[in-house]
Symmetry: C2
Subunit: 159 residues, 2 copies
DNA sequence: ATTTCTGCAAACGATTTGCACAGGG
DNA sequence: CCCTGTGCAAATCGTTTGCAGAAAT
């Protein structure tokens, strides 16, 4: 976890009058010690390894705070699957492609898409707050070769 | 409900070897008698008005069939809110803008966005199956005038 | 001392499922 | 008749919440 992130969170908590606790520290440490997506339950596991006293309730109570801070993003993958993404620190505008075959989530950024979204929203008389593009797709490699080597690899394509 | 839709559904059920029942008929009738979005529970209400014997379980068992038929679209609005959209018959590629102020859902289509999405997916080695753009936004009118007259009105903008 | 945090376990709410019966082919 | 479809009620599953005690300021 980068020191910059740690400081930003620390400041955020202070500005909200929220206290620094052993459990929250562990959860924060866990939340930003990976660049993978994780579920609330997976975050509980990770936090638990750092500080065994962390309970599920506290994880659920801390997650909205982190999301609020702007450093963690909540992704609704549909079908009730909810995932958290710590990569928005580095890539604030990325979107997601979800492979229906291997369930892999790929991240990608595209400036044109970004512009287009803003344009559409303004044309309708709105100021965009939160944009999310979700593409569900099938793996070409799997279809052609019967194997998919992508499993979990992140691909960032800039246009 | 248009006769064309009725026929398509009828054919679809037949092709899958699914039976025609009083309850299913009522649910189908209800599902396509509006152009608004609705939840599973709201569909139960609507079906119930047509045929009181329709139960919640049957609605939940019928919805996936309708989605499968391609005539009804399932929209995951996030936060566990799931909504069904019968408008894909007329506008197969529309996206959604969700107003954070009045919760209104606006539909819009944009060919460029459509193309861009396909392009991104292919570049990453995938064949897109299901694309969804969700823009959460704030109403300019409300911000400037303190009132929002849009409430529930559908806006279809073609680019 | 005061207030926020915490773990626990119970509550929740939308959706799913097992069952025995009803009804379509 | 056979097998699918149905209602009911119980089960699920991720998430939220009330409470009393623990810890931070």
């Amino acid at each position: 976890m980068e020191q910059a992130v740690r400081n930003q969170i620390r400041e955020f908590l202070a500005s909200k009058g929220l206290r620094k606790t052993t459990q929250r520290d562990a959860i924060i440490e866990a939340a930003f010690s990976t660049d993978r997506h994780y579920t609330a339950d997976e975050l509980l596991d990770m936090s638990h390894r750092i500080e065994p006293t962390v309970s599920r309730a506290t994880v659920y109570r801390t997650l909205p705070i982190l999301v609020d801070s702007g450093l963690l993003r909540e992704l609704d993958l549909g079908q009730g699957r909810k995932v958290y993404d710590p990569n928005f620190v580095d890539h604030p505008h990325h979107n997601h492609l979800i492979c229906l075959d291997c369930k892999t989530i790929l991240e990608f950024e595209d400036l044109n898409m970004e512009l287009l979204e803003n344009c559409m929203a303004r044309r309708m008389g709105f100021t965009p707050a939160n944009k999310q593009v979700r593409i569900e797709a099938r793996c070409d490699e799997l279809r052609l070769n019967g194997v998919c080597r992508k499993g979990g690899r992140e691909v960032t394509a800039a246009a």
